[in-house]
């Protein structure tokens, strides 16, 4: 490892950044507005914090999948934002996710150690689902574009078979004939010694400087050859496309008149400057959901909730995540698709197929089931009148008058209540239930599935679900949240001020962030504290360098170190916070404490460090608002009344969310209509607006 060189480079860029810090300070005096834009598959959401003390503005416009940057500009125009009043545009995007799912990435090759080109296709012996043996798998790089080079390293990084430069040069000529745009290089045990990978990369780039060449250790310096190879391939597959997108986005925003900072949300919940976006292409997969969790975590933390479960319910899915002490859970590996792991730290968002579009049906045993099949956006719910005939969860909410059929979200015209009732009647007849009873049953079944997932998430962490608050958001989250907290036994549901655009807001409040890791795989008895400290220092330096060279000024840099540890023989690791310079016994004690807290009691077996990790955050000035002074609680005036079905028709007060400010308090049953969603407060529950303008709904 060439540590001294890296440290030297980092010092040099430190000087550079001092200058850009000055420039930024200057700019910040003139412009303080921040715009978060989350481009989803259906809608582009915008959150604008003007920064002059006026309240934030939000907006939803249809996405433009052919060129997502066009929809982004349209959103900015529609919001009437002036380019020179904005200090930064912060952006979440599904472009990477969609490119993988729709297989629209680069025509690329993979280079591996001789004998191992099929690692990518074989995976680790699995199948798509537990029951049913059908289904197939298409790797991102097909077998005829996977090539082997003669070389081999031991697990300690010793060269067993040297690399043959001439062979690699000859391979470059073959790859030219295959017209590849990108090449991933993944050699066995390269995490222990990246020299061969770097040499292959240099030879390939010499042969064709236009290629995007990604080495596996550039992306993840850990063992597990399949997971590392797959991650490098995803990076190579996305890099050209994301690079083009970053360029086009910069150009379009430039034409719009914007010359300040553009940052993009990563799946670890941190931001990356658009200039570095291509190099982090694999890290922006599923960035939208991550932004939503970040925002929910921040809001809940400010509102005084320690542990929260975040529930984002949209049209087709329910995304749940756990936040402990303000920090979202992070997953080391996420499967983008069957046999396509991505080993980069991502906010751990669990998805089940439960959304407004989930279809209700009666099964062969005569029992009611809801989802996971969804009516999607076409034909959508029956009430949309687009040809759907099978009742959905949204239809149930319409039949029960929880959704106002005359004021649907994101639709120009009203909803067809009678169609929804007819569809409900058809399955009700088979169950021996009336129309409203059937709709209530549909909600009971879907709510139970979502509540079950919430319970399992907390139980998996050894925690009681009652220790949590629920942050409900997304188009359908606040409609169902009250039932979920009742079902799970959670005391409070928090509905943030703009639940329909929370992901866009999450972009605005996030920090810059880079995660680095390296496999050590050593027993504590053999560990050298100096080696560990050197690796951690090098990781911190690299993260710092990435932040300082990104062209974005930061208020400060925060560095955290952890070690993935296990007992000898175990495969499963736990993440232990450590500090550079700690001796083995100190690290061992920290490991036993973490293990004990998670699994009950430590074991009398030698401990082992598997990976060392460093996360480096570039801190930005906080963008959240300030707490209002709440004096006396006050009773808001309802906007309307209408009968809503809660076990029977109940005359229910309907409030306009915009008219509710801090201190407002009222009892359920009630409906709160937001610009972007509807909140249901069940009979017996109480609601109030807190100092941060969150709507809190509590079980009595």
């Amino acid at each position: 490892m060439n540590l001294p060189l890296r440290l030297a480079r980092s010092r040099a860029t430190g000087r550079l950044s001092a200058r850009s810090q000055q420039a930024w300070n200057e700019r910040a005096r003139r412009m303080s507005g921040l715009v978060g834009i989350d481009v989803g598959g259906t809608f582009t959401d915008l959150y604008h914090a003007p920064g002059d003390g006026t309240p934030p503005r939000i907006l939803k416009v249809p996405s433009t999948p052919d060129d997502p940057s066009r929809g982004l500009i349209e959103a900015l125009d529609a919001a009437g934002i002036a380019p020179d009043g904005v200090a930064a545009i912060l952006h979440g995007t599904t472009i990477a996710t969609n490119a993988v799912i729709e297989r629209r990435g680069a025509h690329m090759a993979l280079v591996t150690t001789r004998g191992f080109r099929d690692v990518l296709e074989l995976g680790r012996r699995d199948r798509p689902q537990m029951y049913g043996l059908s289904g197939n798998h298409r790797p991102l790089v097909p077998r005829d574009r996977r090539w082997e080079v003669t070389e081999r390293l031991s697990h300690k990084g010793e060269v067993l078979v040297p690399l043959d430069d001439a062979e690699v040069a000859a391979l470059a000529e073959v790859l030219k004939r295959q017209n590849v745009e990108a090449v991933a290089v993944s050699l066995l045990h390269a995490y222990a010694n990246p020299a061969h990978e770097q040499r292959v990369r240099a030879i390939l780039l010499e042969a064709c400087p236009d290629w995007h060449v990604v080495t596996s250790t550039q992306v993840v310096r850990e063992y597990y050859e399949f997971e590392r190879t797959s991650t490098a391939v995803v990076q190579g597959y996305l890099q050209p496309l994301i690079g083009r997108y970053a360029r086009r986005l910069g150009e379009r925003l430039g034409e719009w008149g914007f010359g300040a900072d553009i940052l993009v949300m990563q799946s670890n919940g941190g931001l990356v400057p658009v200039a570095q976006l291509a190099d982090r292409a694999a890290s922006i997969v599923r960035s939208g959901p991550a932004a939503g969790v970040m925002a929910a975590a921040r809001i809940a933390s400010a509102a005084g909730f320690r542990h929260v479960i975040t529930g984002d319910m949209g049209g087709t899915s329910f995304d749940v995540a756990v936040v402990l002490d303000g920090s979202p859970d992070v997953a080391e590996t996420t499967n983008l698709d069957f046999r396509m792991p991505l080993r980069v730290p991502m906010i751990d968002v669990h998805t089940i197929g439960a959304g407004g579009g989930s279809i209700a049906h009666v099964n062969r045993g005569g029992m009611l089931e809801v989802g996971p099949r969804s009516a999607g956006s076409m034909p959508g719910p029956v009430a949309y009148g687009q040809g759907g005939t099978e009742p959905t969860v949204t239809d149930a909410n319409i039949v029960l008058a929880r959704i106002n059929p005359d004021r649907p979200i994101g639709r120009g015209h009203g909803l067809q209540l009678e169609l929804a009732r007819d569809s409900m009647r058809r399955i009700g007849d088979r169950l021996g239930l009336g129309v409203e009873q059937t709709a209530e049953a549909v909600l009971a079944v879907i709510n139970q599935r979502m509540a079950g997932r919430m319970r399992l998430l907390s139980i998996e962490r050894g925690l009681d679900p009652r220790d949590f608050a629920l942050v409900a958001f997304g188009g359908a989250g606040p409609l169902h949240g009250a039932a979920l907290i009742r079902e799970v036994g959670v005391q409070t549901m928090l509905v943030p001020p703009h639940p329909g655009v929370l992901c866009a807001m999450g972009c605005v409040i996030a920090e810059l962030r880079h995660d680095l890791s390296q496999t050590l795989e050593k027993g504590l008895e053999a560990m050298d504290a100096g080696d560990v400290a050197a690796i951690l220092a090098a990781q911190a330096a690299e993260g710092r360098e990435r932040i300082l060279t990104g062209g974005i000024a930061v208020d400060g840099i925060a560095v955290e170190h952890t070690a993935d540890m296990a007992y000898r023989g175990q495969i499963h690791t736990v993440r232990v916070p450590i500090e550079p310079g700690w001796p083995a016994d100190r690290i061992g004690a920290a490991f036993r404490e973490v293990y004990g807290a998670k699994y009950g009691r430590p074991l009398d077996v030698p401990g082992r460090i598997v990976n060392l990790r460093t996360s480096v955050a570039g801190l930005r000035a906080p963008a959240t608002g300030t707490a209002a002074d709440i004096g006396e609680a006050w009773h808001p005036v309802e906007a309307a009344r209408r009968p809503v079905h809660f076990g029977g028709w109940v005359e229910t007060r309907v409030y306009d969310r915009a008219a509710l400010g801090p201190g407002a308090a009222f009892d359920g049953p009630a409906i709160v209509e937001h610009v972007d969603t509807t909140t249901v407060i069940e009979p017996g529950m109480r609601a109030r607006v807190d100092a941060w303008n969150n709507l809190l709904v509590e079980c009595a």
């Binding site: 029951y131 029992m367 009971a444």
Partner: protein
């Protein structure tokens, strides 16, 4: 029965079973439970022991045998005065219900308002229960005692009091006493999760309603199961397949099934299946029945896991056969029998509903165990490498490459991690070309790897499917057979029993190589689209020879890239060649081309 309550109650009971699964996966010490979910949990009816709900995180192999084991414990408890609150029974006796001696099952009663309300069960795979081989995969075991300590149904807890003497006796006979004690404690703790869940339900509804829902759920599942059975054309479907040998005696063994489908009833008749083997290739009766449900669930994934689904079925399992292991036969090779049993059910159903059934998967669990003393780490190691292989094709798609066995979800170990832990080096790890059975839809390819020892390593192999290949259906052909090869002292050799070998001593530089079978093909290979054949050729999934002889394709080399040839399949010449092949077939009067016919199972 109120349909809303029923739907919600079903979800709630399944949720309790799921929570029990996750609780153990979280709390277990041994990685085989925490990493590969080798466990299962369920809620059972207090009167007859039928499954009410089973957790969805546990392994398929436990699908129905938990019910049978629980039913046996119920009978045993009744003989000894019935259950008392705080009792926890424990057993691993395969003849009494279990799978193999490594799987320990705990059964506990739930009392509500002083009455027996339900039974709960927890099964977990313990890393070691004694016996002649660490971990328990002993290919030459001839009786159960070589596989580990046998635990009959006994009370681990009696009225809430731990039977500490029994625990001491048991753990004194296992290799990892601390780990095993911890796992048993974790399993016993799971029952409080189940008990609490049921108490909450009773508090919310009332005992009578919950009980009525349990009965109704079982009835509804029976209705559901029958509706699937009605989709299978009535008739008697016979299928037969074979094992290489039993690990001791070099003679093939037969698995024979006559599946009778009536209006809404299935009868599985295994008459004609080989008598019990001398080696460990035996299966307990209950696990045989359980495996039938695993196969059905792979064909009808929506079927609920519940006693009602098991009702419209009947089994004829000959006494003294490999499917009705009796004391003291060894059962360590049980996964091979489970695999073949699933295969013959696919083979029989393929005659009735070929559109819903996959061709045979690779069909061998084929565990390779490498063990010894690590020269650098100075500690004893055991590495277990379960076989991957190809899946059979279905009407809709080619078979999957490199799947796990239908009864398991366990993964293959990382190569890099293995080289850190064991003194071995992988020389290659590749897709096995030409191993998928030809067909309109091609069987998935198996894989091959070679492990070189870097010091003294003892290797045992317990597999099958060398002499009898995974079969194709609906005109599809068989896959390539399994192949195990050793290289010691500069000589390479095939084990005398081909797929089984106990304790080969490897020294520095010696090696073992494995090539797993693919899956069978679906439909006539002469019907496969020529673009797909061209792709298979250029991806190296099939050889030019196979393209010509099995698929009737005429491939022309059009380019070379490095050391690889690039082919184009000529449409016109292929049509001519296929025509000729079809005419030749008619001339022979054979429905299936000649190659590999010897390796095909016999269809009657």
């Amino acid at each position: 029965m109120d349909p809303v309550t029923l739907a919600v109650m079903r979800g709630a009971l399944e949720q309790i079973a799921d929570e029990m699964d996750l609780h153990l996966i979280h709390a277990a010490i041994s990685p085989i439970i925490s990493e590969t979910n080798d466990c299962a949990h369920g809620i059972f009816h207090p009167d007859n022991g039928e499954t009410v709900a089973q957790g969805r995180y546990g392994l398929p192999v436990f699908l129905a045998n938990m019910q049978f084991t629980t039913q046996n414990v119920l009978a045993e408890a009744r003989r000894s005065g019935g259950f008392r609150p705080g009792d926890i029974w424990m057993l691993n006796d395969p003849y009494f219900g279990g799978t193999h001696v490594q799987d320990m099952q705990l059964v506990a009663p739930v009392f509500i308002e002083g009455e027996l309300f339900a039974l709960l069960a927890s099964t977990g795979h313990l890393m070691d229960v004694g016996g002649s081989v660490p971990g328990g995969w002993a290919p030459r075991a001839e009786e159960i005692h070589q596989e580990g300590v046998l635990v009959p149904p006994i009370k681990l807890y009696d009225g809430g009091r731990l039977n500490a003497e029994v625990l001491r006796m048991f753990t004194a006979n296992v290799r990892l006493p601390e780990q095993i004690t911890g796992d048993l404690a974790a399993m016993a703790n799971v029952f409080s999760v189940g008990q609490r869940g049921l108490e909450t339900l009773v508090a919310r509804y009332d005992a009578a309603t919950v009980r009525a829902c349990m009965d109704e759920m079982i009835r509804r599942s029976e209705t559901e199961m029958k509706s699937y059975i009605r989709e299978i054309p009535k008739g008697r479907y016979v299928f037969e397949d074979h094992f290489d040998n039993d690990g001791i005696v070099d003679a093939p063994m037969t698995m024979r099934l006559a599946l009778s489908v009536s209006e809404d009833h299935l009868e599985f008749d295994f008459t004609g299946t080989s008598p019990a083997s001398r080696g460990p290739m035996n299966l307990s009766r209950n696990t045989a029945i359980s495996s039938c449900y695993v196969a059905l669930k792979h064909v009808f994934p929506e079927v609920p896991v519940n006693g009602g689904a098991f009702r419209p079925t009947e089994f004829r399992i000959p006494e003294g056969s490999i499917l009705a292991a009796e004391y003291p036969t060894a059962v360590g090779g049980y996964l091979e029998i489970v695999g073949r049993l699933i295969d013959v059910i696919f083979g029989a159903l393929a005659q009735a509903i070929p559109e819903r059934v996959p061709a045979a998967p690779f069909g061998t669990t084929g565990v390779i165990t490498a063990s010894g003393m690590h020269p650098e780490l100075r500690s004893y190691f055991v590495g277990v490498f379960p076989y991957p292989g190809g899946y059979g094709a279905t009407r809709g798609s080619d078979g999957l490459v490199h799947g796990n066995t239908p009864q398991s979800m366990a993964n293959f170990m990382s190569i890099e991690m293995s080289e850190h832990r064991f003194p071995i080096r992988f020389e290659h790890f590749s897709l096995r070309e030409d191993s998928g059975g030809p067909g309109t839809r091609r069987g998935g390819c198996g894989s091959s790897y070679r492990l070189r020892a870097l010091s003294d390593v003892t290797v045992s192999v317990l597999g099958d499917r060398v002499d009898h290949c995974p079969f194709g259906i609906a005109g599809g052909e068989s896959a390539a057979p399994n192949r195990v090869e050793f290289g010691t002292g500069g000589e390479s050799w095939i084990p005398p029993l081909r797929s089984k070998y106990e304790r080969a001593q490897l020294h520095d530089g010696d090696w073992v190589a494995a090539a797993s079978p693919g899956g069978g093909g679906y439909g006539d290979p002469l019907e496969r689209e020529i673009e797909l054949i061209e792709e298979d050729l250029n991806l190296g999934y099939i050889s030019p020879e196979t393209a010509t002889t099995r698929y009737g394709a005429v491939a022309i080399e059009i380019d070379r890239l490095g050391d690889r040839r690039v082919y184009r399949v000529d449409e016109e010449q292929t049509a001519q060649r296929r025509e000729a092949l079809r005419n030749a077939r008619e001339g022979d009067g054979a429905a299936v081309p000649a190659a590999r016919k010897d390796a095909m199972p016999h269809v009657r």
